[in-house]
Amino acid sequence: MMPPAGQRDARGLRLLGLVAGAAAAAFLLSLATGPAGFGLRLPGDAGRLIFQEIRLPRAVLGALVGGSLGLAGAALQGYLRNPLAEPSLVGVSGGAALGAVLAIHLGLTSLFALALPAGGLIGGAVAVLAVLALAGARGGPVTLILAGLAVSSFAAALIALALNLSQNPFAAVEMVYWMMGSLADRSLTQVRLAAPLMLLGIALLLTVGRALDALTLGEDAARSLGIDLDRTRLAVVAGTALCVGAATAVTGIIGFVGLIVPHVLRPLARNRPGLLLPASLFGGAVMLLVADVALRLLQPWVELRIGVLTALIGAPFFVWLVLRTRSELAP
């Protein structure tokens, strides 16, 4: 039996308040962490410089990129009604990284700086459309993963090709950067470039909550509730491309955030996509900020890439999801 609407809203608000509070705490923790010392107040001019120009952009990017990835994952899972949908697994991140690499290596970014997130956006949009066309909007979990695998492998091959053709002595290092992601030594320049597009994508994806709620009843039921499915599809595609495209263009591919966060929060959100979307936004920020703090604390002993850390957590989780999906699909 569903609890009455008023009680549901109160519960939802409590959940949102909780994850938003956790995100704020993780943001402050990220600001306080770094090799120059722990704390929100560092001495002198150098301290101010470190705080404003190095830690602040890193924390802002961590929050926005994590939030974008978490939200995009929740939106894809809700729209495709597919538990395995996730930006990096379905190839959107790969497409976005390819777009950004092309923007840099064709010299477009030296003509106009916005070419970098724009490249990511276009690459992400092409990838998400390709995956939808390959898998079909109603394809099963396996079809979607296969389509995503094809798109992301192809994107990775094209990135390697572009880096090799550019005769860049840093091709190998740059490949690692794009494939494993990094928030290290990013600046306000990257924040200014990517943040507006990510915020636009976040706003767009947050509008589809009601449609995704209705879609849990099936497409016909959703349509009879007055949901415009074409508009929903457009919003999900454009929102995902904006969020993931702009995020990947400045940090490289960071996988599994969009998989883990919605799955952890879904039971708490009572399987309501409309509530899960904003919860995953904050939850994604928490996950990436905490992972980035852990990375910096570990750094004297182990050199880890942020994408490696999220994959270390995410891949076993993915395996568990696959096993669960398999037992559900089994006759």
Partner: protein, 282 residues
Amino acid sequence: MLGRALLVLGLWAVFGLAAGGQGAAAPGRIVSLDLCTDQVLVDLVPRARIAAVTHLAADPAVSAIPDKARGLAITHGLAEDVLRYDPDLVLAGPFGVSATVDLLKRLGRNVVVVPLANDLAGVRASVRLIASAVGAEAEGEAMILEFDRRMARLPAPSTPAPGAVIYQIGGSISGPGSLADAALAAAGLRNLGLDYRLTRAGQVPLESLIARPPDLLVLSSGADEYRTIVADNLRHPALRRLREQVASLEVPWRHWLCGTPHLADAIEWLAQARVRLGAPAR
């Protein structure tokens, strides 16, 4: 199939030996497979005796002699590609081409592998090795003499030696045992690289650099010569602000990527920058 491949290899070996046995005259079809041997070779012998160099020799970002190398034939370092030039001497460096070198040696080609020069003695040794291989010993000794003359004319060192950091693309630094470290020492500077809290990959987080700025910040240009996101650390606003506060110097890679006598340029600039620092603050 295999038999035919062996036959072809055998034929190459015979022709290779025949070509190598044409007397002790100075080699006249020299192929170089390494950027560093390229540069010494081009400085040492007339162009007519050079069959091919690497594509990097004419790249102004990494080569000290791009104009002199322009127009020379280019090899990509594969054995088959090298054999096209029917070389009587192949100069190779220590990196990346060992399979090619082995194959060329087995085919009877005269291959000289020039070790990496990590210090000034290494610079002299590699010039001597290449000069004797190409039969230009006198020119080689003259080149070394000129290098030593420039080293002897450097401004006298001051004590204590000011500290310097070489901060590069991706935040990596040059540590002890590297050629850049030897150049700093020759210029009377102390390499502070290891005083920082490095990551395991040998990089300095920008934050650490700003928290403890060196007396002299040394950068290799190249952020904009190559289109790569890995160079973003050199475009970071915080680094720009740091350079307003501490002395800094750009020494383009082409001058100290290889242990050739062109290293003298880098050392002279570093020594002049040290003199401009005046007495160190600490």
